[in-house]
């Protein structure tokens, strides 16, 4: 082992970097054995190992916040000089802590949420397997190792989406009987798992292609090895392969982070247990794509020093992010299922992060967008995990995934109500008090100040999506907690069910995250500045990307405590928040206007509503082109080719031909010596004739 530890008191912490991902795997490995001993014990073991893993990650923090790094390698495949390793630098350590602590909280939540499930051992196994794989992605020092983790989280995601593989009606998503373009918009867990797996695989194939292309030229998968020596990039660029290779890598991120056009799997992924949705499909795995961009983005940007401009790559990242942010936000406005609203919101928010990572590369001040994207990743992980867990509590209590089956719950579930407001305000970007505000504002500022030719359209999209975000969040809270009790709840209460708060192991985790959203939000600006400073140093030290301190002090019209912010971005944030929450209040909290009547009031709104509700017809079109049509083709081939040409023609025909010729040959075997002698003689003649020919 070669330890390149720079931090002073941290000689031993290379081990903790390894432990961060080894511990969860160890837990997964012993899980089946523990399940044999006692099912109750599995939960404690899982929580314990998740805590240890999170603590290992936390022990790396002091080193990373000093902008130092640990890079530790062991030989992996000797023959091609491939090394496995951990790279604990600021972004990976911060990410590892986000993953580690949120998964720890979600594990606690799961002990309540999954109580009594008879497949609980399998659940814990896959959860721990997931955490281990995710931490491999985060802490690996090379692309190939990342890919192993990448596939590991994909596998765990597949297994957990279809966790309730018996496909009971209550585990489906979508409205039963609803059709879009003639296809059912109603999915069973097993179908959803497969859909997620296949759609993300499209991205994975692109990713491995990009990886191998780079390896072909650079001869290494290592993140650090790719920086510094730029000969490989020059050679690739000369052949026009550099940007395609990185775009292919980004393809993996598109699939994993559910970005347009591979976004449709995330909605059906909501068939999994809510704890899974919170951990995998909101807080961590879907961020892997953003993290990958954060890993490779600086490498690409640093190539600018070698005279290679990769603007196209960053433009693609930014535009994909912006399109996704808007596309999915719109759908969040109309969906009746609470988890789906949150899923749309997740995809949309990740779009923001991608947008920030993209514009970072288009501006001269790379660190601005980079910090904004990463800061938004952290704040989103907190409030979205909290929202998901709260939604899980609601599902648990109400027994329905539809918001129309809830309503008026603010009295019975006071804690959930409060926490959901707190986390929801984070998502909306409530000014000055939530992390969501500061991080979104940073994204706006980064886009606005990037100086790219696309800055204005991207900025407009981002602001529009923010308005919509505030609106659908208010709608969600309004539908669930305000108004009258729904028929469903009334019926439940008539049947003697008492609607009550969720158990303590459930509300504490999302309570903590909701409080953190506000708590860190209060000191949000200094947090952001700290992060900005850290990344500045990190980018300079590891990639040689310099930042200019061009901010003009004191000339701003803003009050003292907001110094350093971009006034335009700040204004847009405030307006977006106010407009969104105002509209939401009118329709869903104050209930002054009936949204149904409003939509039906004119054909224009009606048409828009229908298009959005039908997922912009994107899902249906994907199904028509890539599922229905190939199946139709396959059936045709089966019926008109396999059944006829292959089965009747070749199989039966061949069998008959062989049988027939065997009969003929046997027919010559008369058993009569005279005829044998005749054949012998004829054969001799035949041989001599051929020879004489």
């Amino acid at each position: 082992m070669a330890t390149e530890s720079i931090g002073l008191p941290f000689e031993a912490s290379a081990l903790s970097a390894w432990l961060v991902w080894i511990l969860p795997f160890a837990a997964a490995m012993i899980m089946p054995g523990i399940g044999k001993i006692s099912k109750r014990l599995t939960g404690y073991v899982a929580v314990g190992f998740a805590l240890m893993s999170a603590l290992s990650a936390a022990s790396l923090l002091p080193m990373a916040l000093e902008a130092h790094e640990i890079h530790d390698q062991v030989m992996w495949i000797e023959a091609i000089g491939l090394k496995a390793g951990v790279l604990a630098d600021p972004i990976s350590v911060i990410m590892a802590n986000v993953v580690g602590w949120i998964s720890f909280l979600i594990m606690i939540y799961s002990t309540g949420y999954m109580k009594g499930d008879k497949d609980i051992t399998r659940f814990w196994f896959w959860m721990m397997f997931f955490i281990g794989s995710m931490q491999i992605i985060v802490l690996s020092d090379n692309l190939l190792q990342v890919f192993f983790g990448w596939e590991g989280v994909g596998l765990a995601s597949y297994a957990l989406i279809s966790f309730w593989y018996r496909d009971k009606k209550k585990d489906h998503v979508g409205q039963e009987g609803k059709t879009v373009l003639g296809l059912l918009d109603y999915y069973a867990p097993t179908h959803a798992g497969m859909k997620a797996f296949i759609m993300t695989k499209i991205g994975d194939v692109m990713m491995i292609a990009g990886m191998l292309l780079i390896f072909l030229f650079a001869g290494t998968f290592g993140f650090r090895e790719l920086v510094g020596d730029t000969d490989w990039a020059v050679a690739m660029n000369a052949q026009g392969l550099l940007i395609p290779a990185f775009v292919l890598l980004f393809g993996g991120a598109i699939g994993k982070s559910a970005q347009f056009p591979l976004n449709e799997w995330l909605l059906e992924a909501m068939t999994g247990p809510t704890a899974v949705s919170a951990l995998i499909h909101a807080a961590t795995m879907v961020k892997a794509g953003v993290f990958l961009v954060a890993r490779i983005g600086p490498i690409v940007f640093a190539l600018g020093a070698a005279g290679i401009l990769a603007d196209q790559f960053f433009e693609i990242v930014a535009w994909i992010g912006a399109i996704t942010a808007l596309l999915l936000a719109t759908q969040g406005m109309v969906n009746p299922e609470i988890k789906k609203v949150l899923a749309y919101s997740t995809g949309s928010q990740i779009g923001y992060m991608m947008l920030a990572m993209g514009v970072a590369g288009l501006s001269h001040q790379y660190v601005d967008g980079y910090t904004a994207g990463f800061f938004h990743l952290i704040s989103h992980a907190m409030f979205k995990a909290s929202l998901f867990m709260a939604a899980g509590s609601l599902l648990h209590v109400v027994g329905s995934r539809f918001m129309t089956d809830m309503g008026g719950l603010r009295k019975q579930m006071k804690k959930t109500y409060a926490f959901m407001w707190a986390a929801g305000l984070g998502l909306m970007g409530a000014p000055f008090i939530t992390t969501g505000f500061w991080s979104k504002d940073a994204v706006f500022a980064a886009v606005f100040e990037s100086g790219s030719e696309w800055a204005m359209p991207l900025y407009a999209i981002a602001v529009l999506a923010a308005v919509i975000t505030a609106f659908y969040t208010t709608r969600m809270i309004g539908l669930v907690f305000f108004g009258n009790k729904s028929k469903h709840i009334q019926k439940m209460e008539e049947e003697g069910h008492h609607i009550h708060e969720a158990s303590i192991s459930m509300w504490v985790p999302y309570g903590i995250l909701a409080v953190l959203t506000i708590g860190i939000g209060l000191i949000g600006l200094s947090t952001e500045e700290g992060l900005h400073h850290l990344f500045e140093e990190y980018l300079e030290h590891s990639f040689g990307i310099h930042s200019e301190h061009a901010k003009i002090e004191g000339s701003s019209i803003l009050p003292e405590f907001l110094q350093g912010l971009n006034p335009v971005a700040l204004g847009s944030s405030l307006v977006a928040f106010s407009v969104g929450i105002g509209l939401g209040y009118i329709f869903y909290i104050g209930r002054w206007v009936d949204p149904v009547r409003f939509v039906n009031s004119n054909i224009f709104f009606y048409a828009i509503h229908k298009v959005i509700l039908n997922r912009w017809y994107l899902n249906a079109m994907i199904y028509w082109c890539f599922v229905v049509a190939p199946l139709w083709l396959a059936r045709g081939v089966f019926r008109y080719f396999e059944k006829t040409a292959i089965d009747y023609g070749m199989n039966d025909g061949f069998q008959k031909a062989v049988g027939w010729s065997a009969k003929v040959v046997q027919g010559t075997q008369t058993g009569v010596s005279q005829s044998y002698l005749f054949v012998f003689g004829a054969g001799l003649l035949f041989v001599v004739l051929i020879l004489l020919m």
């Binding site: 062989v658 049988g659 010729s661 065997a662 009969k663 040959v665 046997q666 010559t668 075997q669 058993g671 010596s673 005829s675 044998y676 002698l677 054949v679 012998f680 004829a682 054969g683 001799l684 035949f686 041989v687 001599v688 051929i690 020879l691 004489l692």
Partner: protein, 494 residues
């Protein structure tokens, strides 16, 4: 002149002496000796012979394959190679007969005949003179006629012997005819002189030379089981006692190939004529007819008889492309050696099944994997090796054979088709090998294990070790084959 210690002479001495003495002992003891008593003596004689051949090889006393010699026999690696293969089969037959012949009379004569036939086969491979070859040929054939009909009271054994004898006589006559013509054309019976004479033949006499070659092909083709000279073969193999069938299929057939390589291939090269096509056509016909006929058979012996016909076709590929690819003859020799073990083991397995269960019909083999596990395993390994399934030894020889056909494709446009035909036929052959496997292992449920004859088990274990061992590690066998293969190329003169 050959030295007195040269391999063929010593073999004649050992096997001949024991072969002649056995009946004398029997008479002296008034035919009271048991089956196993004579079997052990024969076994010992064969082991000693085997040991001597091995000793000669290990001490480098064996000349590399000499193509020609002034003597009537030559002590070369080619002959030694065949001697080892045939001695192994003779050992198989002897061991396999321990139980099989227990209930029959005159064991001394039986084993004596096996030894005498073995001398004949070995000498065929060593012969470099046509007359010597013919004498050896007859020495090999006549005892086997008797052996096939050894069960006097069994009509199918008698029928088998009669058919075998009729065709044997006919083919011998044809060979003599061929020898006569070649002697007439060249004034010599030494193979080297004949071929030299042929290569300088007046063109007007060429058709006669070709006629003699045709006669040789037909005459030796009878033993090799080439289509259309194969029709006696299934009837004989089915009717003969199974150990004897092993001797016929695995050993005498190979003597036919040894003779064919000595005369036909070398002659072909010398004559510089394109008669490879004739061999190619016969090869394809042989393998196809053999496999197609085998596929519907219900009798195990008969099925393997046809499979043996098919294998003659594969081996012939190597002969056909010999002038154009150095791999050709190597592949043939390799396949000959493997085939001797595979077919020998398969027929001895049948002998075991017949002695224990008295069945040969395939439907009666249900659950054999449980009843006679070792026999069944030996059988399956042999069959899969015959089909050329890796990593068994049979795979490498087939690979080399088909490879040689591809190798020759630059000179012969039709050579790759031999490989294609061979591969397709191998696939076809898996149909009936698989059928047997299915019967033995996947059908029947309630069968109890029966005790397997120890001698059969010994043969099975030897073959399994051989086929798997040289399949996984083919290097030594490959070296041996390379050493034994005569090097021929176009335009080669004696």
């Amino acid at each position: 002149m050959l030295e007195i210690t040269s391999t063929p002479l010593v073999l004649i001495a050992i096997l001949g002496t024991v072969g002649v003495i056995l009946p004398i002992i029997s008479i002296a003891r008034k035919e009271k000796g048991s089956n196993s008593f004579y079997a052990v003596i024969a076994f010992a004689a064969l082991i000693v012979s085997m040991g001597y051949v091995g000793y000669q090889f290990l001490n480098d006393n064996v000349a590399p394959s000499a193509l020609f010699s002034d003597d009537v026999i030559v002590d070369d690696a080619f002959g030694g190679f065949f001697a080892i293969a045939m001695l192994i089969v003779a050992l198989f037959t002897t061991v396999g007969s321990f139980n099989y012949m227990r209930k029959h009379n005159s064991p001394a004569v039986y084993y004596s005949l096996i030894l005498l036939a073995t001398i004949g086969m070995v000498l065929v491979a060593y012969s470099t003179d046509l007359v010597m070859l013919f004498v050896a040929w007859e020495l090999m054939s006549i005892p086997t006629y008797v052996l096939v009909g050894f069960m006097k009271k069994n009509p199918s054994s008698n029928e088998a012997a009669l058919k075998y004898f009729l065709f044997g006589a006919l083919s011998s006559a044809i060979i003599v005819y061929g020898i006569a013509i070649s002697y007439g054309l060249t004034g010599s019976t030494n193979i080297g002189d004949v071929i030299e004479g042929y290569s300088t033949l007046d063109p007007s006499l060429l058709p006669l030379a070709l006629l003699s070659v045709g006669m040789f092909i037909a005459g030796f083709g009878f033993k090799m089981g080439l289509v259309p000279f194969h029709q006696w073969l299934p009837d004989t193999y089915e009717g003969a006692p199974s150990p004897v069938t092993a001797l016929l299929a695995a050993a005498t057939k190979k003597a036919g190939f040894a003779a064919a390589i000595r005369i036909i291939v070398l002659g072909m090269v010398a004559l510089n004529l394109d008669w490879t096509l004739a061999l190619g056509i016969i090869a394809v016909m042989t393998m196809t007819v053999g496999n197609i006929a085998a596929i519907m058979q219900k009798n195990l012996s008969r099925m393997l008889a046809y499979s043996s016909v098919a294998h003659a076709g594969y081996i012939l590929i190597g002969l056909a492309v010999a002038p154009y690819s150095s791999l050709g003859l190597q592949g043939s020799l390799y396949q000959i050696f493997n085939h001797a073990i595979m077919k020998g083991a398969a027929f001895i397995a049948i002998a075991g099944i017949v002695t224990t269960l008295a069945v040969t019909h395939i439907d009666k083999l249900k659950g054999l994997g449980r009843r006679m596990p070792i026999t069944a395993l030996g059988m399956i390994i042999s069959l899969f090796a015959l089909a050329g399934v890796p990593p068994l030894s049979g795979f490498w020889s087939k690979l080399m054979l088909f490879g040689s056909a591809l190798d020759a494709s630059s000179a012969l446009w039709w050579a790759p088709w031999l490989a294609i035909a061979g591969v397709l036929n191998s696939a076809l052959s898996l149909a009936y090998y698989g059928w047997i496997t299915r019967k033995m292992y996947f059908e029947g449920e309630t069968e109890k294990r029966v005790s397997e004859p120890k001698s059969i088990v010994a043969v099975m274990i030897f073959s399994i070790i051989f086929l798997v061992g040289f399949g996984v590690y083919p290097e030594p066998l490959l070296k041996f084959v390379e050493f034994a293969t005569p090097i021929v190329s176009l335009g080669l003169m004696p």
